[in-house]
Symmetry: C2
Subunit: 580 residues, 2 copies
C-alpha cells in the first residue's frame, strides 16, 4: 500500500476524552473514530488489525472442527422469553419494536438463537458433538461506555456454542477449545494466561478466562512463577501453611486500644505487624425456614483480605455474602465491630487456614476499646474438636503464597479478559427443550458449552500490552502493515525513489504487508507516523546509505539502526520477520 | 471437509412459505434458516457461499483503490436529522432508544455516517479523490419481507462512498467502479447486465444498476441483441420510426363502438390491430401559482404502454404523474375516458413518436360510444406547427424496437438488481457541510458517489439464474465446495475408502474446496444431497470402476458420466475446473 493512496489519519494531540492508553493511541494513530457514545467507526488502518485478528481466530476455530455460521443481530423477544432472559436481563439488553410493534432485541450474545437452531436441526446423538461459531457484531447498552473499543456498546465478538450428549463429550470439546484459544493468543504474539474462573453453580474446572497481561488490566490474576497455573485471584485457592502451628509463648493480656478500630490502627497502636492480628468479621448465616438468620464469625489474618466468593460458597453462610449490621454485631458480641474477637464468642466461626496457624496473636476482646495480645488457639479459644468452628480457605491469595498447583510461588499481575470458555450445562437447552434421541432411542436434553473472544477488545488489549512513548508497537501477526519503507527526500532523489519502488515490489511479492510512505512530507513526520501507528519494522532508504550500498533497518523496539547491504536486504527481512 | 463432520441440513419437502425458487432451494439445501420474519441464520453451507461472494467483492474493491472501513450498525438520530432523512425516511427505518432515551436507528445505508467521518478527516483537495467501502450488516424494516434473503430485513451489503472536488473526478471513480462491478459479476460467473438507470434529478448517465438476468426477476431490462447497451425499460429511449409517415388513404369515419372502452374492446370490435389505434390519456399539467392545473393529453399507440417516468419529466406535465379524474375528463372532452381522442380536442397534446407516425388510425371521437376510423394527422388534427402539440418519447420500449444505441434490435429480459452505482452530487455533503480547501484555498463542498452490492442478495440471485429440478447449480467461483467425492459402499470397501481419502487429500492439497461424503448413507442419498446443494463437480469412486482403473466424473449440468483413468484424474480436474 502506498501511504499517499491511504488514509493516514494520525493526530498529534491526545484526545481529552480518552483515559486509557489504548483508546488514546487508537484515536491518535487513526485506527478508530467515535461516532457516538460507545459507537466507533474502524478506519482503514484499524480495520486491517481487526481483520487479522478475525482471520487467526477463524483459522484456529476451523482447525478445531468448529463450523462457522452467521446469526442475525436482531433477535425476536419470544426466544428470550422462553429462556427467561427477557425478564432477567437488565437495561444492557437493547430492546426495540418493529413496524408491526413486535418486540426484538439487539443480540448481546446468541445462546437462545443457536439453541433454537440446534433444536430444529439436530435429531440424533450421531450428529454430536457439534460446535458452531460466528464472528459477528454485538450490542450491549453499557451504562457508561468507556475506554474506546475496550468497553464499547457495539463490538465484534467470536462466539461459539457446542452441543453434547454427555459431560465427557463436553469436556473433550472444552479441552479442544482451551487448546485452540491458547494457539490463537500465541499466534497474536501476546503475553496471555488462561485463568481458572468462576463458573457459578456448575463447579469443577468448567470455566477459564483468557487474559492479556497488562498493568492497566481490570482483573487480578494469580499465577505460579514455576508452572502454567493461573487463576483469577477470586478463584485461586490459598493453601494451608505447612508445618505445625507454633507453640504459645505469651500470656493472654487484655490491653486498652481506645479509638483503634481498623487493623491499621491496632497495628500502629500496639506496634505489631498486621500479619499477627486475627481480624473477625461478622456475617449472616443461612436462615432456617422463617427463622432469623444466625450470625457467623469469619476470621482472617490482618494482612489478608476476605474472599467473599469463597466464603459464600461454604455451608452455613448466606449467599450472596451479607455483613451483619452494627446493631446485630453489638447484640451478639457486646462490642462494636472494631473490637470483636474469637475468645469467648458464642457464634459459629470459620477460621481461615492462615489465621488458624497463628500463635501469640492479637484480636478484639469483645469489649469496646480493648484487644487481647498473646492470644493462642485452643489454650484461649477451643477450636480443635469444636463443632461450631471450622477451618477453611476464605481469603484472597497474595503474592508470595505457595502456588495452589503445588509448584512455585504465586505472583499477582493484572489482566484484561479477552476470552472466556465456559461449560454451560443444560441451562439453555433445558429451557428451550433442545434434545436429541440418544443411543437408547430416548429423548435427551443436550449439554452445552460456550466460548467467546472479544475480537475488537483484543485489538485494544494488544496495545495496552505493547506501546511506548512514541506509540503502538504491534506484534507482527496483527500489525496493519509489517514493514514501512521510508524514502529520504524521495520526491527529489530519483535513485531513492527507484530503490523504494523496487524494494516495495520485492517485499510485496514475497507476501509481506508493506506500506511505502511516498507522501510528500518531511522524514520526521513519516518516522513519527509509522512509530505512532506501530509498524513493527522500518526500512529507510536515503542517498547517503545508497552511496555505501546500505539500507537502514530499525525494529519498532530497537534503539539503534542496523545498516544492511542492499544485496542482503531480502534475506535479512526473511530472517528477521515471521512470514505472514 | 468431511460431510460426516459438517452440517448437511438438506430437507426433502419444499417449505410451504417459500414462493421463489431461490428461497425454496436455500431452505431445502440447508443454506439458511428463518429465525423470524425477514431474519435468517446462515448455516455453514450457505455462509461459505456468502464468504466467497464477499471475498471477490473485497478483492476487486481493493484493486480499484477503495479503502475498507467498518461503520456501526447503530447510528445516532442527530446525523439523520442533519441530512433531513430522519423526517423523510418512512417506517423502513428502524428507530430505537438507548437506556438514556437517546434516539438511534439501525442503519439501512451509511451516507450520513461516512459523510460525517469525511468532514472530520479530510481537509484538502490533495486527499481527493477518496473512496471508502464496507461489507456490513444492514437493516430495513420491510413491510412485507419475502423471498428469503432476496428481500430480508437484516442483510449484508457492500456499500461504498466516494468524495471529489469536481464532476470529472467523480466521473473517473464512477467509471472505475463500473469496471470493478463488471469484473466482480464476471468473476461470480453470472449472466449479468449493467443497466442504465434513473438517477433522479441529477440526469446524465450518472446511474447504473447491475442486474443478474433471471426469469423470476422483478425488473424489465431492455438490451440490444448486437451491442453492450442495456437499460431499465423505464429508462430506455424509444427511437422515432424511420422514414416518412405513410400518406392518408382512408376517409375519416365516425363509427359506433358501444360499450367498447378499452383498446382490446375496440380492437376486437373493429377487427383492427391495437397498433393501429391511438390511445389518448388525460393527465394533469403543471399548475401556475394558485391556478387549477390544466389538463394534458398524452397519446400513445394502442399496443404501447405509457412510460410515466418519461412523461413526468416533460415540461408542462405534473410530476409525479397524475391522471385526471373521470369528471375532469368529461368536462374537458365531453366524453368518458374510453372514447377520448385527439380530433377536435382543445387541450395541450404530447404525442408519442410512434403514435405520431400513424396513418389511417382509429381514435376516440370525444363522444360516448363513438370512435373515428381512417383518422390522419394534420388532415384531421393539425400537429405540424401547432404550438399546443409536441412529439416526444413517452412510451416503454418493446421487444423488436431498434436499440436506442443505434446498433441492433431490442430484446427484453427480466433481471434481479444486485448492484447500483450512483452519482449523488452534493445531496449529503451540502446538508452536512462536508467541505475541503480547494486548490485556490477556498472551502468547497464535496461531490459524492455511492456504490452498493447486495451481498446476501447475490447468493439468491445466483440461484434464480442457475438451478434445475434437482437443485442449485453453483458457478465454480462461489460454490460452497467445488468438488464432491462420493465413495460407493465406502464403509465396507477398503479400496474405495482408501482411494477416496487419497483423492480428497490430493485435491485439497491442490487448493480445491472439496467435500468428501463419508456419511454412512446410501449412494442415492449422497447423490441427491450433493446435487441439491449445487456442488458443481462430482467424482464417484466404486469397486467396479476401480477394477477398470476408473473414477466417474459428472459436472452438475452434464447428463452423462465420464470415466477417467485414475492416473489422469488430477490432470482432468485441473483442466476441467477453473482454479480457486
Amino acid at each position: 500500500m502506498r501511504a499517499s493512496q491511504y488514509l493516514i489519519a494520525t493526530v498529534k494531540e491526545t484526545p481529552s476524552d480518552a483515559v486509557v492508553i489504548s483508546h488514546q493511541l487508537m484515536l491518535r494513530a487513526g485506527m478508530i473514530r467515535r461516532l457516538s457514545s460507545g459507537l466507533y467507526t474502524w478506519l482503514p488502518m484499524g480495520l486491517r488489525v481487526l481483520r487479522k485478528v478475525e482471520a487467526i481466530v477463524r483459522e484456529e476455530m476451523n482447525r478445531a472442527g468448529a463450523l462457522e455460521v452467521l446469526m442475525p443481530v436482531v433477535q425476536p423477544a419470544e426466544l428470550w422469553q422462553e429462556s427467561g432472559r427477557w425478564q432477567q436481563y437488565g437495561p444492557e439488553l437493547c430492546r426495540l419494536n418493529d413496524r408491526h410493534n413486535n418486540e426484538f432485541c439487539l443480540g448481546p450474545t446468541h445462546e437462545e438463537v443457536i439453541t433454537d437452531m440446534v433444536r430444529n436441526e439436530l435429531r440424533s446423538y450421531k450428529q454430536l458433538p457439534a460446535n458452531f461459531y460466528q464472528i459477528q457484531t454485538k450490542f450491549r447498552d453499557e451504562i457508561r461506555p468507556r475506554f474506546g473499543v475496550m468497553r464499547s456498546r457495539e463490538f465484534i465478538m467470536k462466539d461459539a456454542y457446542s452441543f453434547h450428549d454427555s459431560a465427557e463429550s463436553l469436556q473433550q470439546t472444552y479441552d479442544a477449545m482451551y487448546q485452540a484459544y491458547s494457539r490463537i493468543f500465541e499466534r497474536f504474539g501476546l503475553d496471555f494466561r488462561p485463568v481458572i474462573a468462576d463458573n457459578g453453580s456448575i463447579g469443577g474446572s468448567g470455566s477459564h478466562e483468557f487474559h492479556v497481561l497488562a498493568d492497566s488490566g481490570e482483573d487480578d490474576i494469580a499465577f505460579s512463577d514455576s508452572s502454567d497455573y493461573a487463576a483469577n485471584v477470586e478463584m485461586a485457592e490459598a493453601l494451608a501453611p505447612t508445618g505445625e502451628r507454633p507453640a504459645a509463648s505469651q500470656a493472654l493480656t487484655k490491653v486498652a486500644t481506645p479509638g483503634q478500630h481498623s487493623i491499621e490502627d491496632v497495628s500502629q497502636g500496639l506496634n505489631i505487624s498486621p500479619a499477627q492480628i486475627a481480624k473477625t468479621l461478622i456475617v449472616l448465616g443461612e436462615a432456617e425456614d422463617d427463622q432469623e438468620a444466625p450470625l457467623v464469625a469469619l476470621i482472617v489474618r490482618g494482612d489478608h483480605e476476605l474472599n467473599e466468593l469463597k466464603a459464600e460458597k461454604l455451608a452455613g453462610v448466606a449467599s450472596p455474602l451479607q455483613f451483619a449490621s452494627e446493631e446485630q454485631v453489638k447484640n451478639a458480641t457486646g462490642s462494636a465491630p472494631g473490637s470483636v474477637g474469637p475468645i469467648g464468642l458464642d457464634l459459629a466461626m470459620i477460621i481461615d487456614r492462615a489465621a488458624a496457624h497463628l500463635a501469640d496473636f492479637v484480636c478484639g476482646a469483645n469489649e469496646e476499646g480493648y484487644h487481647y495480645t498473646g492470644a493462642n488457639w485452643d489454650r484461649d479459644c477451643t477450636i480443635s474438636g469444636n463443632d461450631k468452628v471450622s477451618i477453611a480457605d476464605i481469603r484472597n491469595i497474595v503474592s508470595g503464597d505457595p502456588s495452589p498447583c503445588g509448584t512455585g510461588t504465586v505472583q499477582i499481575k493484572r489482566g484484561i479478559e479477552v476470552g472466556h470458555i465456559f461449560q454451560l450445562g443444560d441451562k439453555y437447552s433445558a429451557a428451550l427443550n433442545a434434545s436429541i434421541l440418544n443411543k437408547e432411542g430416548r429423548e435427551q436434553v443436550l449439554t452445552m458449552g460456550c466460548y467467546g473472544i472479544g475480537i475488537s477488545r483484543v485489538v485494544a488489549a494488544a496495545i495496552e500490552q505493547n506501546y511506548d512513548d512514541n506509540g503502538i508497537i504491534w506484534p507482527d501477526a496483527i500489525a496493519p502493515f509489517q514493514i514501512a519503507i521510508i524514502g529520504m527526500n524521495m520526491q527529489k532523489s530519483e535513485q531513492v525513489s527507484e530503490q523504494c519502488e523496487l524494494l516495495y515490489q520485492q517485499l510485496t511479492d514475497l507476501g509481506y504487508d508493506v506500506i511505502l510512505d511516498d507522501r510528500n512530507e518531511r522524514p520526521g513526520v513519516k518516522f513519527a507516523d509509522m512509530e505512532l501507528m506501530g509498524i513493527p519494522h522500518r526500512l529507510v532508504i536515503g542517498d547517503r546509505g545508497l552511496k555505501d550500498g546500505n539500507i537502514e533497518y530499525k525494529g519498532r523496539r530497537d534503539s539503534d539502526n542496523q545498516y544492511i547491504a542492499i544485496a542482503d536486504i531480502l534475506d535479512f527481512v526473511n530472517n528477521t520477520l515471521s512470514k505472514p
